[in-house]
Amino acid sequence: MTQLSVKNLHVRFPLREGSLQAVKDVSFSLKKGGSLGIVGESGSGKSVCVSTLLGLVPVPPATISGSAHFQGVDLYNCSDAALREIRGKRISMIFQDPMTSLNPHMRVVDQIAEPLRIHEGMSRKNARLRAVKAMEMVGIPDAASRAKSWPHEFSGGMRQRVMIAMAMISEPELLIADEPTTALDVTVQRQILELIHELQQNTGMSLIMISHDLAVVASVCEQIAVMQHGVMVEQGKTDEVFQNPRHPYTRGLLKCNPTLHEPGTRLTTLEEVLGEL
């Protein structure tokens, strides 16, 4: 059953002279409980693509055409109130930089609890109890006593866990993760990916993960989509794309992945690979 379908999405930003087409004719769909990874270099339009889903791209100045339907709701043509009902409750999002995506003036427990207070009108006390449970769920040790901490008292990895707890607390049907591990070091990255994967398995929610790192996406997502210059150049099952990439750009990306098998060889750059073509 299709949960989210995006059709013929174009996004255009006006520049001082002319305009920039950030996303060109992108279509994709996601079934309930499915997971989709969108990869591409920076500037390829992958973030813009999903940001439009939650109304994060301001129109105007940008222009958006195409359609996006989430469980029958037209995301591009619904009222602010309807969009607020979906945001944070049915679709949640986590961001790249956990250092700046938490409010420094609010205790973590209250930030995690806030969606419940708003969307479900829960009392402060109950929401806080739920928030502590959510902190345990995302693997924050000693959650009950750390609940009262301020964001700056947490490490990057812990903050990303707080963000995840916040996004997950109202049990969304779809989680959008925009480069959730880019700002983290490799060991923490592993843990966060495992956490997201595990939460997805346990709750049956769908997942869209954006990354510039093929390995990150491959470890979590069943489906994969590759974007270049605003165009979705390849789309398919993760295994198939990896084993049998059809588009030269995808092949290029795969080739650029450094391996540990051939020490002493130079790393391939994308320009080299694409230049050969």
């Binding site: 994060l56 607020r84 945001r87 409010n103 420094p104 109890l129 301020w150 700056h152």
Partner: protein
């Protein structure tokens, strides 16, 4: 657990941090004493602020007149305390106006951005451009001269700068990721502005308030000097200092006592303001 969850609002936390700051507490106590003295003092005093005694005009500080007397033989201590009431009232009114109107207006303007912001700021520009003195003279000729009018006039100009400062700060915060995160979580605009953005600029706002209060007290003195503010025989710190300056060479106490009262109050306010700024920033926890 139940008990613990009750006790961690930002306000209570800030209060706890403030109590640990001796300078701020010193300022708070001093300010409290000044206010109590100004409010209660004139009742206790054996003199009234307008009672003249020409035989003891221009006498220096003594056991009967602690602060001495002025050229009409009025008790300077009583006049200073009564004048303090006016100065505090003006400061309070202007602060309230600039906080309520300035912060809300600037917050909305900066947060909405675009055309709304442009229009709201043009209105502020227009109000800025009106000559203040003319505005007050106009107000006073149209309506009767009274204290409320003085408050309105001062309040009307004091919120403008606050609105601009707050707008600038809000614009800086609006595109931070945590504000985007709030949008994505489906919070209403009002909630994002008042619960997430404004607490983050409280420090700046408080600093600006501590700067506003002295300037408002001086503004009141200026208006009184022009004959638009407090009228004799009523006194305010501004008018007392002005009168005292004229007699400074012969009777220096006539200027120094009201001046000292103003000085102590402003100093106390600055200490308190600094302490409040630190106390309201959770990132300063643990610093001394």
């Amino acid at each position: 657990m139940k008990k613990k969850t009750e006790t961690y609002s930002l306000r209570r936390d800030a209060w706890r941090r403030l109590l640990r700051n001796p300078t701020a507490i010193g300022g708070l106590v001093l300010l409290g004493l000044m206010i109590v003295a100004c409010v209660a003092g004139p009742w206790v005093s054996p003199y009234t602020f307008e009672e003249m005694d020409l035989l003891s005009a221009n006498t220096g500080p003594s056991s009967t007149h602690w602060f001495g007397t002025d050229e009409l033989g009025r008790d300077l201590l009583t006049r200073t305390l009564v004048g303090g009431r006016i100065s505090f009232a003006v400061a309070l009114a202007a602060t309230l106006v600039s906080l309520v109107i300035g912060v809300t207006y600037g917050g909305i303007s900066g947060f909405m951005g675009g055309r709304v912001d442009a229009w709201m700021m043009r209105i502020v520009d227009v109000l800025y451009a009106l000559p203040f003195t003319l505005l007050v003279i106009l107000l006073i000729t149209v309506f009767e001269r009274n204290l409320i009018l003085l408050f309105v006039a001062i309040g009307a100009v004091e919120w403008l700068t606050m609105a601009r400062i707050v707008r600038g700060q809000v614009m800086g915060l609006r595109h931070q990721e945590f504000i985007e995160a709030c949008q994505v979580l489906g919070y209403s605009r009002a909630r994002i502005l008042f619960r997430h953005i404004l607490p983050n600029i409280l420090g700046t706002v408080i600093i600006y308030v501590t700067l506003t209060i002295p300037s408002v007290m001086l503004l009141e003195a200026f208006l009184s000097f022009l004959g638009l503010g407090v009228q004799p025989p009523m006194s305010s710190w501004g008018s007392l200092i002005k009168d005292g300056v004229g007699a400074m060479e012969d009777f220096p106490w006539q200027m120094s006592f009201p001046g000292a009262a103003l000085f102590v109050t402003l100093l106390a306010l600055n200490f308190l303001g600094d302490g409040l700024r630190d106390a309201l920033d959770p990132r300063r926890e643990g610093e001394s």
